[in-house]
């Protein structure tokens, strides 16, 4: 536990020691604002909610989260720091969790900085703040899912660009599996339970139900187990790849 906190602290500080943190936060805020107001027609809809804002989160995360996660392990391997890290009296799983949590808290900070939007919508009308709160929780859980995938992929290569591209592709698959086009393709021939299984793997399915204001235990279990599985895979991949 203490070791996780030590790794966490060092990692989080490293985001802010380089321009990475500021660039990421600015781009996240600008993009989420632009998408909400221009494409999401926040004002024109005339509704006091943040649906147009949250609707874009899966697509924002698709590109922005791999940009955060790509360096997690790829850089550690490339610089040789991994040899230092893993010969300190810290277990692999502590290192994996510490790094993941730092990246997750970092995305949480970026997400938190969108609060002026929440204030605006309360100023303009009287939204259901419970729904908005649930959507924030859902968004954060989804970001955690993307990050866990990205962290694992980042451990497979020393090249951050490759880590980025592969992470985007895998995250895209996790998003798409909830789309009706994809599901229709399976519906023609696959049994219903296969279709349901594919749909239930999707980030979108779980995120959209939470963002409607229903924090269902199943959705939370989904994201928690997704994160756990990918982080476990992360540790296994490092163990296999660290020598090379």
């Amino acid at each position: 536990m203490k070791n996780i906190a030590i790794i966490f602290k060092r990692e989080l500080a490293s985001y802010f020691a380089t321009p990475v943190a500021y660039v990421f936060i600015v781009i996240f805020l600008v993009l989420s604002g632009a998408l909400t107001f221009h494409i999401g027609a926040f004002f024109e809809r005339g509704q006091a909610d943040l649906a147009p804002f949250f609707n874009f989160h899966p697509w924002l995360y698709l590109f922005l989260v791999p940009a955060i996660s790509m360096r997690l392990w790829a850089e550690e391997r490339k610089s040789g720091n991994i040899e230092l890290l893993l010969t300190l009296p810290i277990s692999m799983i502590e290192a994996v969790i510490g790094k993941f949590l730092a990246a997750w808290l970092f995305t949480a900070i970026a997400l938190f900085l969108t609060f002026p939007l929440w204030i605006t919508v309360n100023y303009l009308g009287s939204p259901d703040n419970g729904v908005i709160f649930a959507a924030y929780i859902g968004s954060l859980l989804m970001a955690g899912g993307f990050l866990a995938i990205g962290a694992c992929i980042s451990a497979t290569t020393k090249n951050q660009v490759i880590a980025f591209i592969i992470s985007v592709v895998i995250c895209f698959a996790f998003l798409l599996s909830g789309f009706s086009i994809v599901l229709d393709f399976f519906r023609g021939w696959a049994p219903q339970y296969v279709v349901d299984a594919i749909a239930s793997l999707s980030f979108l399915t779980h995120f959209s139900s939470i963002s409607k204001g229903v924090i269902d235990l199943r959705d939370i279990v989904y994201f928690a187990s997704l994160i756990a599985v990918w982080l476990y895979a992360n540790a296994v991949v490092i163990e296999m790849k660290k020598a090379s």
């Binding site: 070791n3 030590i6 602290k9 040899e83 010969t87 300190l88 009296p89 277990s91 020598a243």
Partner: protein
């Protein structure tokens, strides 16, 4: 005490370390010598628990490295080849991080950090990001990190590589000064260093030990009295056979 028994490391079909066994007692400074690619770094990576051996046993102060890794790692300070460190951190931040991991606290912590900064003359660069330091200073940060918790066992891969002559001298004195109650294992290509600091030398070629004796005994093997000649003779003979 470090005990190594029949250590083997294969990378695919290639055998980098091929059945190495030795023991090191406290008070010894062991020098690993051998041509490039002999398997020195690979052996050190296995002792420090970074790489898992293909077969064989390693125990450090009674802790099996592939059993109770954490206990073994606590006893060791390690300077990996190339002295990696987090480039965006300053030496001050980096040493604080290592002190956290090593569980140092209170006045002991402050005192240890101050001591290693002084021993490795880091005060001038203490607040400069490590990635902007010269090669020799990076190496000194790596050394400081390795000795910070005053470990019983010190494993250092080419500790004086890239240091200026004055620093080389100081680091050798530092190693000698610490050696009384510790186990020190260093690898080096500087043969005069072996004579200057090591109480024992192991020459490795192609992953096997081809000589294990004191530097003086090695020197005595050569009519010219030069360690270089002995080294060449032993390692080339092995190469041809």
């Amino acid at each position: 005490m470090i005990e190594i028994e029949n250590l083997v490391k294969k990378f695919g079909p290639f055998t980098a370390v091929d059945g190495i066994s030795f023991k090191v007692e406290a008070g010894q400074v062991l020098g690993f010598l051998g041509p490039n690619g002999a398997g020195k770094s690979t052996t050190m990576k296995m002792i420090t628990g970074f790489l898992a051996p293909t077969s064989g046993k390693i125990s450090v102060c009674g802790h099996a490295v592939n059993g109770d890794a954490r206990a073994a790692k606590r006893q060791m300070g390690y300077l990996p080849e190339g002295a990696p460190a987090y480039g965006e951190m300053t030496p001050a931040q980096f040493l604080q991080f290592i002190a956290d991991v090593r569980g140092l606290s209170g006045s002991h912590r402050t005192e240890r950090i101050a001591t290693v900064i002084e021993q490795l003359h880091l005060d001038r660069v203490i607040n400069q990001p490590i990635e902007t330091l010269s090669k020799g200073f990076k190496r000194r940060v790596g050394l400081a990190q390795a000795i910070l918790h005053d470990p019983k066992v010190l494993i250092m891969d080419e500790p004086t590589d890239g240091l200026d002559p004055n620093q080389k001298h100081e680091v050798r004195e530092l190693i000698k000064g610490m050696a009384q109650d510790k186990i020190v294992v260093i690898s080096t290509h500087i043969l005069s260093e072996v004579d200057a600091v090591c109480t024992r030398a192991i020459i490795i070629t192609n992953g096997r030990i081809v000589a294990d004796e004191t530097p003086q005994e090695l020197i005595a093997r050569s009519p010219s009295g030069k360690l270089d000649d002995v080294f060449r003779e032993i390692t080339l003979a092995e190469h041809l056979s």
